[in-house]
């Protein structure tokens, strides 16, 4: 699997602490991915629309405010409506351990907590893409 996959990095919701999302965006650029960075304060609709317009292979969401479950659920729902539920969704940020299975249950492919290394993130994305291919 080559690293020229297109990754959308977005921040759904109202929280605007973008530092973590930007670090991941730059790390993926360094690793050879194409990155579409949406910026903060995105509605689920905006995220899904960008994903469609940019024809991305992976959607990465950064969430810190505690609104992760509601926002991810809505995004995955919209993706199903658009028939693009096969695009893998990964999540990073402050996600309590007990919420990880709940996110996985609704279709999130991987959750990265604080301190996740670039190797871990890049390898996971590559593995997910291999399975998706």
């Amino acid at each position: 699997m080559s690293n020229i996959a297109r990754v959308l990095i977005g921040k759904p919701g109202l929280d605007g602490h973008e530092a973590g999302a930007k670090v991941v965006a730059r790390m993926l650029l360094d690793a050879g991915f194409e990155v579409i960075y949406t910026g903060a304060r995105q509605t689920p609709e905006m995220i899904v629309r960008s994903a469609l317009e940019e024809d991305v292979d992976v959607i990465g969401l950064s969430l810190l405010s505690g609104a992760h479950y509601e926002l991810c659920r809505r995004i995955l729902e919209l993706m199903r409506e658009e028939g693009v539920e096969d695009i893998p969704v990964i999540v990073g940020g402050i996600i309590p351990a007990e919420d990880i299975p709940k996110l996985e249950e609704i279709g999130v492919k991987a959750v990265f907590g604080p301190g996740s290394g670039s190797k871990e993130i890049v390898d996971t994305i590559s593995t997910i893409l291999e399975h998706a291919a």
Binding site: L14, E18, L29, S65, E70, I94
Partner: protein, 587 residues
């Protein structure tokens, strides 16, 4: 003074030449021996192998300065003990703004708290008051902070998540029902929504039977922070700064006990700015607000003495101590020059420290108590006027009552039990800290000039300069952690395979719906004519502003809040007039 304690001449050329020889001699003998593994008396225990330092180059925590093996009088020859270091309470305030240091200081139990609905936050506030808290900074949720109602589509899932959901003044009243306003000093962030926050606290005082003039409220009123740190902006920087200076003007004229503004660099630092940038950008931002208020005819003496700079306190103990000393010195010089004043009320900068939440780790969170203790120590040694500390579990979730109490007591333990604070500026005169203070001041001055030359803080936001500088700094720190160059215990060193989970705060999943129900009821049960008229007045003033009229927007907000207009309704009027800001997308 006895005969053998004669005062030494302050660094005569002969003394410095002699010290230079002394240092050179040490490097050629003891140091050379030590590095080559040579056996000197004090190294008997070592085997005779070559010794290497753990790094090629040692740098300060923010990466700006190389740290030498040892500092000596030779590193401070350019620093004037009177003009640059001076005495506490005197220009240039390097050693603090109070001649007593902390000797007359009682550290309050202060909390930054508030979550969920009015009921749950109310219970927390009540418990905090009962446990002795006398300073409380209210945290409000994100929809409230950007002027959205709890039932707005964008608010879904965010209601009550990072703070209290407030739609009308009744919500604030409910949360603070049991708190005696004359005993508790209240503050809140309120940046893009500051005229509304002012109006809300005004209405709160009225509804509890107080004259708002007699209350002590503090509003952050710092929209710049929202473009650079948290993304919680609404309007363009120029509109936001104009509205924020309306609040400053109103408070100065009508509410003499209120603090109208504290400018926050904490989030810029957390977002990747260095210690020197924090100082330089902070001064540029403060002056931006001062100029905006001056343009409305407000006398700086009426509000600058009540302003403070709200900074972070990061991992490098000595760099942070030097930073707090440097910011006071640089502020005194720049503000004196900019405002053409020698008034100590303006030149003696007050600092509030919110210690580095960004440096807390989710891994082995109890270690964060050690980290925050050092951050607090830096703030105390640096002479901060007020200290707020995030709880050890904040890298995982909102703090619990227990973790918040541990956090707030750190400063009390250091001050009351560990004898920190018996003498003013205990690091003053340290060759290292004095040298670093001057280095930071010089670098920060460059950062300040850079922003000034591009047109000031508003320009540095709009052209993406602040965001780019922060993003670069953040990515540099990240790659350093990845490579192991920057140590984070539990993250890249001494990693623990399995962790013991800790108890973390859990929100109330029903709170959002309850708040929405309450909001709908409030919208129905009000004097609709009065509400509509009040909203029309808000719009009229906003439109007048857009035409270049200098009318203050605050009075229209006071009536709108009293008339039970919701936060979303009020800000929708403004959004329609001013439009919303689109931030540059800087990675």
């Amino acid at each position: 003074m006895s005969a053998d304690q004669k005062p030494k001449p302050a660094y005569s050329p002969e003394f410095l030449a002699k010290f230079h020889d002394e240092l050179e001699h040490m490097e050629k003998t003891t140091l050379k021996d030590r590095l080559s593994g040579g056996i000197k008396a004090q190294f008997k225990a070592f085997t005779g192998t070559e010794v290497k330092e753990t790094k090629e180059e040692f740098r300060t925590g923010s990466g700006d300065f190389v740290v030498k093996r040892v500092y000596t009088p030779l590193d401070t020859t350019h620093i004037d003990p009177i003009m640059d270091i001076g005495l506490p309470g005197q220009m240039p305030y390097t050693r603090g703004r109070d001649p007593l240091g902390f000797r007359a200081h009682e550290w309050p139990l202060n909390y930054y708290a508030g979550y969920g609905s009015g009921e749950s936050a109310g219970e927390r506030y009540k418990a905090l008051y009962a446990s002795g808290a006398r300073e409380l900074t209210l945290a409000m949720d994100l929809p409230t902070q950007i002027g959205l109602d709890s039932d707005a589509p964008l608010a879904a899932g965010e209601v009550g998540k990072v703070g209290l959901a407030v739609d009308t003044c009744d919500d604030l009243h409910r949360a603070l029902e049991t708190i005696p306003l004359d005993e508790m000093r209240l503050a809140t962030v309120g940046n893009c929504n500051s005229p509304w926050i002012l109006a809300m606290f005004h209405a709160l005082a009225e509804s509890k039977g107080h004259d708002p003039k007699d209350m002590h409220f503090q509003i952050q009123n710092d929209p710049i922070k929202e473009y650079t740190g948290r993304g919680t902006y609404i309007f363009s920087p120029s509109v936001a700064i104009d509205i924020s200076s309306d609040v400053t003007e109103y408070i100065c004229k009508k509410l003499p006990k209120w603090a109208p503004q504290y400018n926050c660099t904490t989030t810029m630092r957390w977002g990747g700015a260095s210690a020197s940038q924090e100082v330089g950008f902070g001064i540029a931002n403060s002056l931006c607000y001062i100029d905006a208020a001056l343009a409305k005819g407000v006398d700086p003496v009426d509000f600058v003495p009540r302003m403070h700079l709200h900074m972070s306190s990061d991992n490098d103990l000595f760099e942070e101590v030097a930073k707090f000393r440097a910011v006071r010195r640089l502020w005194a010089k720049i503000a004196g020059e900019h405002l053409k004043t020698d008034d100590p009320r303006i030149l003696a900068l007050r600092t509030t420290v919110f210690t580095a939440g960004d440096k807390l780790t989710a891994q082995e969170p109890l270690n964060n108590i050690t980290r925050t203790t050092m951050h607090v120590l830096a703030a105390l040694l640096g002479g901060a006027d007020n200290i707020v500390v995030p709880a050890y579990d904040e890298a995982l979730a909102l703090p619990t009552y227990e973790s918040a109490r541990i956090a707030t007591l750190i400063k009390n333990i250091l001050h009351d039990e560990c004898y920190v604070g018996q003498t003013a500026d205990p690091m003053g005169g340290s060759y290292f800290v004095e040298s670093l203070t001057t280095q930071i001041e010089e670098k920060a001055n460059e950062c300040y000039r850079q922003v000034k030359d591009m047109g000031g803080a508003a320009a540095a936001i709009e052209n993406g300069f602040y965001l780019k500088e922060m993003s670069d700094g953040m990515y540099r720190q990240f790659t350093e952690v990845e490579s192991g160059e920057r140590t984070l215990i539990g993250v890249n060193k001494h990693i623990r395979e399995t962790e013991t989970p800790i108890d973390i705060f859990k929100g109330d999943p029903e709170a959002e719906q309850r708040q929405i129900d309450r909001l709908k009821e409030s919208r129905t049960n009000r004097d609709q004519k009065r509400t509509a008229a009040a909203l029309a007045e808000v719009r009229r003033v906003a439109e007048a502003k857009n035409m270049g009229n200098r009318e203050n927007i605050v009075p229209s907000f006071l009536e709108a809040v009293r008339a039970r207009a919701t936060v979303g309704e009020i800000f929708d009027e403004l959004r329609e007039v001013f439009g919303e800001y689109q931030a540059p997308n800087v990675v």
